[in-house]
């Protein structure tokens, strides 16, 4: 029998073909999104990403993705501003400070945050968390600082701020667990050296451990950003879902819309092919953004853990 048809070769080739499924998924996704968004890009060109109007009425169609791109960027930005310090605090506490008996249970609870389905975050956000934000943050702030443009609008609880804070909670498990790995991979000799010249525990963490793990933590932050950018259901349920120029996130207390929530809300109801194409165009931009963010993050995290760690894999 021909050497090529031995069991081993067949098995290897079969496995290799199956392993290519990932590339097939990627190519099919890229192809559908690109071909699907051709009509809207032909009609409006790159102006599609700069326009603010969204009108599917036949004969007066005009589609612009800018408000939703801004909505995604602003909510993800808020998520990073709030979520990253919390996550780093958690990681530092778990690696450097917590008593041994508490480490595993706390790490486990934080990981459970990642297990809660996003639609349940949305449900909780819509019926519970919204009122915390409205009553304890938005109404007091609006009363005293309402004249500032970023606090303008009616404090209703379903807006950019609530969406950003929910996203912050949702990225904590990602950022915290990777930061934990990175901090844990900092060699002990670094800590010992720092203690030996008389630094306090906090100084050791602040000036040696965190700066040693800086690029890895940065990678973790970018990965968290990727999560926040792609998150759909929780945001859809609390952001208020406005359309057109009203969706430009000019104030924390105004309803808005992100790219993913726009698609989740409108894609199904769209009937005309140009309108569907507009939603797919928004999807294409979301895909590109998420690809860039994730590739950057993976390069950073794996390089850091490989080169500096030694302890991790």
């Amino acid at each position: 029998m021909n050497r090529k048809f031995t069991g081993d070769n067949v098995f290897k080739i079969l496995a290799a073909v199956i392993a290519a499924s990932a590339v097939v998924i990627l190519i099919v996704t890229a192809y559908t999104l690109v071909s699907g968004s051709v009509p809207v890009l032909q009609r409006f060109g790159l102006g599609f990403f700069a326009g603010t109007q969204w009108n599917p009425v036949e004969g007066r169609e005009i589609f612009g993705a800018l408000p939703y791109v801004l909505g995604t960027l602003v909510t993800s930005g808020i998520a990073l501003l709030i979520g990253v310090p919390l996550s780093i605090g958690i990681a530092v506490f778990l690696v450097e400070m917590a008593p041994k008996a508490l480490r595993v249970p706390i790490a486990y609870l934080v990981e459970l945050l990642a297990a809660v389905p996003s639609v349940i975050y949305g449900l909780w956000g819509l019926f519970v968390f919204r009122f915390w934000i409205q009553n304890y943050i938005e109404i007091p702030v609006s009363n005293s600082l309402g004249w500032l443009p970023i606090f303008s609008g009616t404090p209703f609880g379903l807006d950019v701020l609530t969406a950003g804070i929910i996203l912050a909670i949702m990225i904590i498990p990602t950022v915290a667990s990777i930061s934990k790995e990175v901090i844990g991979a900092v060699p002990n000799s670094i800590r010992e050296g720092a203690y030996s010249i008389g630094a306090t525990k906090w100084e050791v963490i602040r000036h040696w451990v965190l700066s040693y793990g800086r690029s890895g933590i940065f990678g973790a932050v970018i990965l968290g950003l990727g999560r926040a950018v792609g998150e759909t259901m929780a945001v859809t349920m609390v952001i208020g879902n406005t359309i057109g120029p009203a969706a430009i996130p000019t104030s924390l207390f105004k309803p808005s819309q992100t790219m993913s929530s726009l698609i989740a809300n409108g894609f199904l109801e769209s009937t005309a092919s140009l309108e569907k194409s507009a939603y797919i165009g928004v999807g294409l931009f979301l895909l590109l953004l998420s690809l860039i963010i994730n590739i950057a993050a993976h390069v950073m995290v794996t390089r850091v853990l490989k080169v500096k760690g030694g302890a991790v894999e």
């Binding site: 499924s21 506490f93 975050y121």
Partner: protein, 280 residues
């Protein structure tokens, strides 16, 4: 000098408290979510609620039977498509993965793992729903397996790598072929890791909502065929939450309790079963 030392010690204390506060702040939402879902969902639970279809507003309460059935069918179908493909991909990456092709596949899998799930929905809509001409259970399963495959592939690879090489060598030394070694020796040795990783991945897709919106669509009937629209728990929660009727919102909380019980049971069960064996 003394003052400076006291200040540094104070700062040390302060940051300990701040880091502890970070942990507390992160855990409060988790506890609140669990509390609210149980407190608002538990009164809904009854045999009727779990088995009946949705009722008419103001006439009969009805239940979320179709949603539970739909979710189970989706999970089953997705596992049927996704798990074999994912595991074989992982086997290739772990056992034959010492080349540039495999490291490219590894990167693609990593990137796919972080894909926005709504994008997967658009893809499945364009590829399956448009070709078949209707929203369907199959379209939903295809969308979910796009999410499942890369996760299973990577966890399979990780757990196969934990199997010591001496085990492979022993099998090869006995004269077994590589494929035989992989299937009969390496995979069974990595069994608990495989089960853990796969169940966690299934728990993740059980709660996915976004890709279902444009694939299975959701309706109020029990299963009508794989080519027909179908209900699912996450969809039911979303739809009910946006209804203006308190009865329906309450049913949404009931559905959330059922969903979170499924997801948490998978998570907690798996971690208890594999405690101490794996770092993650």
């Amino acid at each position: 000098m003394i003052n400076n030392y006291a200040f540094r010690k104070f700062k040390n204390r302060l940051f300990f408290v701040l880091c502890l506060a970070c942990v507390v702040i992160a855990i409060v939402p988790l506890l609140s979510i669990l509390y609210e879902v149980i407190a608002r969902g538990a009164p809904q639970l009854s045999w009727e609620f779990l088995t009946q279809g949705p009722g008419t507003i103001g006439v009969s309460a009805g239940g979320i039977g179709p949603a539970i059935q739909g979710s189970l069918i989706l999970i089953g179908l997705t596992s049927l498509i996704g798990i074999p493909v994912g595991i074989l991909s992982g086997v290739y990456l772990a056992e034959f993965g010492n080349n540039r092709y495999a490291s490219a596949m590894r990167t693609v899998n990593d990137v796919l793992t972080e894909f926005p799930s709504i994008i997967v929905g658009i893809t499945a809509f364009s590829v399956v729903v448009l070709t078949m001409g209707s929203f369907s259970a199959i379209a939903g399963a295809v969308a979910l397996s796009f999410i499942l495959i890369p996760v299973v592939a990577r966890t399979t690879e990780e757990s196969l790598k934990l199997v010591p090489n001496s085990v492979r060598e022993a099998s090869l030394a006995l004269g077994a072929h590589k494929w035989r070694t992989t299937l009969s020796v390496v995979l069974p040795a990595a069994k608990s890791g495989l089960v853990t990783g796969t169940l966690l991945a299934v728990a993740r897709i059980a709660g996915e909502t976004a890709p279902l919106i444009m694939t299975v669509l959701g309706n109020t009937y029990f299963f009508q065929g794989f080519g027909q629209p179908m209900d699912a728990l996450p969809l039911r929660i979303w739809r009910n939450a946006l209804q203006p009727y308190p009865e329906l919102q309450a049913q949404g909380w009931g559905a959330a309790l059922v969903l979170i019980l499924i997801v948490l049971a998978l998570n907690i069960g798996v971690r208890l079963a594999s405690r101490g064996r794996f770092r993650k």
